[in-house]
Amino acid sequence: MRLIVPLRGVIQGRGGLFVGSLIPCCLFYVLQLYLKRRRSPPDPPPTSSRSNLFSRGNSIGRVRVSSRAVPVAKPTDSPYYIGLERVKADPYDQMNNRDGIIQLGLAESSLCFDLLQRWMSENLMESMMIQSDDGEFDISSIAMYKPFEGLLELRVAFADFMSRIMGGNVSFDPSNMVITAGGTPAIEVLAFCLADHGNALLIPSPYYPGFDRDIKFRTGVELIPVHCRSSDNFTVTVSALEQAFNQARKRGSKVSGILFSNPSNPVGNILSRETLHDILRFAQEKNIHVISDEIFAGSVYGDKEFVSMAEVAVSGEFDKSRVHIIYGLSKDLSIPGFRAGVIYSFHEDVVNAAKKLMRFSSVPVPVQRILISLLSDTRFIEEYMASHRQRIREKYIRFVEGLKQLGIPCAESDGGLYCWVDMRSLLTSYSEKGELELFEKLLSVAKINATPGTACYCIEPGWFRCCFTALADEDIPVIMARIRQLAESARS
């Protein structure tokens, strides 16, 4: 037999194991190669379904955009952005459009515009233009290229301002600071620097819906929600973190850090010193980073004391190089149009990488000049911050009181420009679907845009974020009347 059919002998004889190993290996390799080649050029054959979906016509030879730009270009399906778009199309106006949609979805504040207006009209031009020695206006001080990470004077002023609003217990070093064009690029740059493509960040949920866009669009970093519950007043616990961390590891994704907002957004509660200690200890144990978004640090109106992660980091107990802080002036100084934010990091490499990346999102020099004089005007800042806090508090009490009379409670909160409203009693069904139905009803019947918990990845349905700081006092009764109507029709 061996002589007659030598090939068969080779295959099924001793050689079987060897050839049997080699052939499938080759096949597997070729398959992988084939798949890889197929995957990267999704376009050339005009029949590929992917390309048909995307381009409007099917003309051959039409040039395509990159596959990662496609999800960016697509209209979003998050209720947060849908709501914002709807308001833009039909905004409420007390005079001209009384039936329009009232905006409770955007965390901006007009409470202290009078103070800002006064300061700007007195100082705006002077602050921007540096006079040279002979009294002539010197345009080159604002027109020329300056360091991307921000002028040193601005970083000094920022450091001073931050330590002032955070209670003066902690001082910030300007050399650890990079000025960015707003909080959004600050978060993106940090995510880019701390995690590689495919890595993940743990994030206590409910969280700010914009993080999805900020982090996922370009950096390819995943967000893993760590669910917090109403029974804990939505405060994160170490055991929940631990559980999420282990689950992520089991699934094979590498966790690079924890990201959280303090005061939290959308709930508005403040993390206690103990919780911060716990989080940092947890991060140290797992050897991961901590990103603390403290963009609402100056908008604290409650009685609880705000503690910055920076304060905990320098307590000496921990390795501070894993701590990174995001701050910005959009909320606390109510100047989002200025697009001024800060990355504050204790890690030298992160600071240096962020400096280089600021070639893509630095703050224009004239704006920096305005900010320098604004932030160094300590008398104004003191006055501003005091009335900012006072006025949020007043508005908060008025708003929450109004809801309470309708039988709608809010979560306990101490900071932020919003409150976290419990509308579970208005739900038709206790589910995500029920919540989105209520959201739709709020938008089209009551004409109110509030952000539903689903958009914030809240695990319990029925919670809504309402931003109240852009409202006039006389708007509040209008809102309450609209909600009352909705509530009555829902309960009947």
């Binding site: 099924q12 597997f28 990159s66 980073h289 224009p364």
Partner: protein, 538 residues
């Protein structure tokens, strides 16, 4: 019948080696006694032999993939590698496992890089830390030239910005129209319509109004760097590549590669062609890349070119556009110096938009333009750039991505009030051209009297000087030596050709628009000094 024959056959061969025993009876006994062997070497052999190596191969790939991702994190070039013992992850891990040995979880030991206190940054951040800065920048920052206070300091000729010309803005010009309500609140991050209209008008002015730009096709960004970054994100996936004719602007590496992971394939142009882009070399580079399995998504050109300052001719633009159509790729035309042309009247700037306008609609979709107000208005501190595209999808994606590189409202209002008057734009562009022309001819004349020739240029804030005669060895090393001489002896910072990826050594870029006429004399004297030291060494 045949089947049993095969069995016997097979087991016969295997046994002949292991035991030396031959014959059918012996093997059956063996099969019964050692069932495992029977399974392995019997029928199951082929199946197991297939499955096991497959599994091995899969695990090997999996392992490699995991390892590769961790690899760049410990960075040997970085100083902190001393403090974080991570330059060889496997070694340090195994050693820590040996010394500590307290935990048996091997996974924990391998996956975080080390149990030390330092937490490391992402691999891609590390690669940014390494790359980047233009070489002379630090030196200039430490010791800048000042006519009165520091006459021995280093003169910056490496930075394309326009200082002398801007001082003409009057204070009123920039100061009208700033009010709080306009600048403080949230506004669309891709720019106000009013500003877009002004930018469109400015772009038209640069083409002497032969093209009209549609403001709705504009997306404003914080500077041209961000515009290039956003465009390359939208046009290419990670691992894809752009063709870039060299010498090119030194900034492209950062803009295209850093965060997008898009590669650049340089297409060298030579002095013998006067550094013109030829379609044949583009074609060759394209097919070479294709052979290597790299997917080319587009081509990035600068017009007026940086660093040469030459204008691309209409024929050349047609040829390049035809090339992109043939290959079905995109084209990014970097026109940030469009308003900074100077020189003869017959040298006219032609925007790619003009060429695109003659094309079919769907073909226009491959054309994208980067513009920068800061260069043309000599106002880089304002950081306002723009993307002009004919592609709806690119525009939609770019608009969203501008949240990461927004133009701030005060800047926008400042620009609107400064340049919204049409007369102002006209006068400005005209004056700017005249002054550039004056300083350019003076500078080039000065260089010529020192025996240094420049290529003919009609745009940009710089000239491209041939100093091949001054370098000691015709190599990149020789070029860097000369650059060092300029920095240390002449105290002048210029851009060497190697920074622009020029393949011929000995070419340098001089940015002259920052100089006053008095400065030109100082610069020429310093260059003469450098020339003399070069010659005396020969």
């Amino acid at each position: 019948m045949t089947r049993t024959g095969i069995y016997r056959n097979r087991s016969g061969t295997s046994d002949s080696e292991t035991s030396g025993d031959d014959g059918g009876g012996g093997t059956t006994v063996m099969r019964v006694i050692v069932p495992l062997q029977g399974v392995v070497q019997g029928r199951g052999g082929l199946v197991l032999g297939s499955v096991i190596p497959c599994a091995f191969f899969y695990f090997l790939q999996f392992y490699l993939k995991r390892n590769r991702r961790d690899e760049p994190e410990p960075d040997p070039d970085n100083q902190n590698s001393a403090s974080s013992p991570g330059s060889e992850p496997n070694n340090s891990d195994s050693s820590s496992e040996l010394t500590v040995l307290s935990r048996s979880l091997s996974r924990v030991v391998t996956s975080p890089r080390n149990s030390g206190t330092h937490v490391s940054v992402s691999g891609r951040a590390n690669s940014i830390l390494r790359g980047g800065d233009s070489p002379g920048k630090k030196r200039v920052e430490e010791d800048p030239y000042d006519e009165l206070d520091n006459p021995d300091g280093i003169i910056e000729l490496g930075l394309a910005q326009n200082k002398d010309l801007v001082s003409d803005y009057s204070k009123e010009e920039t100061s009208i129209g700033l009010s709080l309500s306009g600048i403080a609140s949230y506004e669309p991050s891709d720019g106000l319509m009013e500003l877009k209209m002004v930018v469109a008008r400015l772009m038209s002015e640069a083409t002497k109004n032969t093209v009209s730009f549609d403001p709705s096709q504009l997306v404003l960004t914080s500077g041209a760097a961000a515009a290039v970054e956003i465009l390359s994100f939208c046009l290419a996936d990670s691992g894809n590549a752009f063709l870039v004719p060299t010498p090119c602007s030194p900034g492209f590496d950062a803009d295209v590669k850093w965060r997008n992971g898009v590669e650049i394939i340089h297409v060298p142009c030579r002095s013998s062609d006067n550094f013109n882009i030829s379609v044949t070399t583009l074609d060759r580079a394209f097919s070479q890349a294709k052979k290597r399995g790299v997917r080319i998504r587009g081509i990035i050109i600068s017009n007026p070119s940086n660093p040469m300052g030459s204008l691309l001719s209409r024929e050349n633009l047609y040829a390049i556009l035809d090339f992109t159509r043939e290959k079905n790729i995109h084209i990014i035309s970097n026109e940030i110096f469009a308003g900074s042309t100077h020189g003869d009247e017959e040298a006219e700037f032609v925007s790619i938009a003009e060429i695109a306008d003659t094309e079919e609609t769907f073909d226009k979709e491959r054309v994208h333009i980067v513009y920068d107000l800061s260069k043309d208005l000599s106002f880089p501190g304002l950081r306002t750039g723009a993307i002009y595209s004919f592609n709806e999808n690119v525009l939609a994606a770019s608009r969203k991505l501008t949240t990461f590189s927004p133009v701030s409202s005060p800047s926008q209002h400042l620009l609107i009030s400064a340049i919204s008057k049409p007369e102002f734009i006209q006068t400005y562009v005209k004056t700017n051209r005249q002054r550039l022309q004056r300083i350019y001819s003076e500078f080039v004349k000065g260089l010529k009297s020192l025996g240094i020739e420049c290529t003919r240029s009609n745009g940009g804030l710089f000239c491209w000087a041939d100093m091949r005669g001054l370098i000691s060895s015709y190599s990149e090393k020789g070029e860097i030596e000369l650059w060092n001489k300029f920095l240390n002896i002449g105290k002048i910072n210029i851009t060497p050709g190697s920074s622009c990826h020029c393949i011929e050594p000995g070419w340098f870029r001089f940015c002259f628009s920052n100089l006053s006429e008095k400065d030109v004399l100082v610069v020429m004297n310093r260059i003469r000094k450098v020339c003399e030291t070069c010659k005396s060494q020969d």
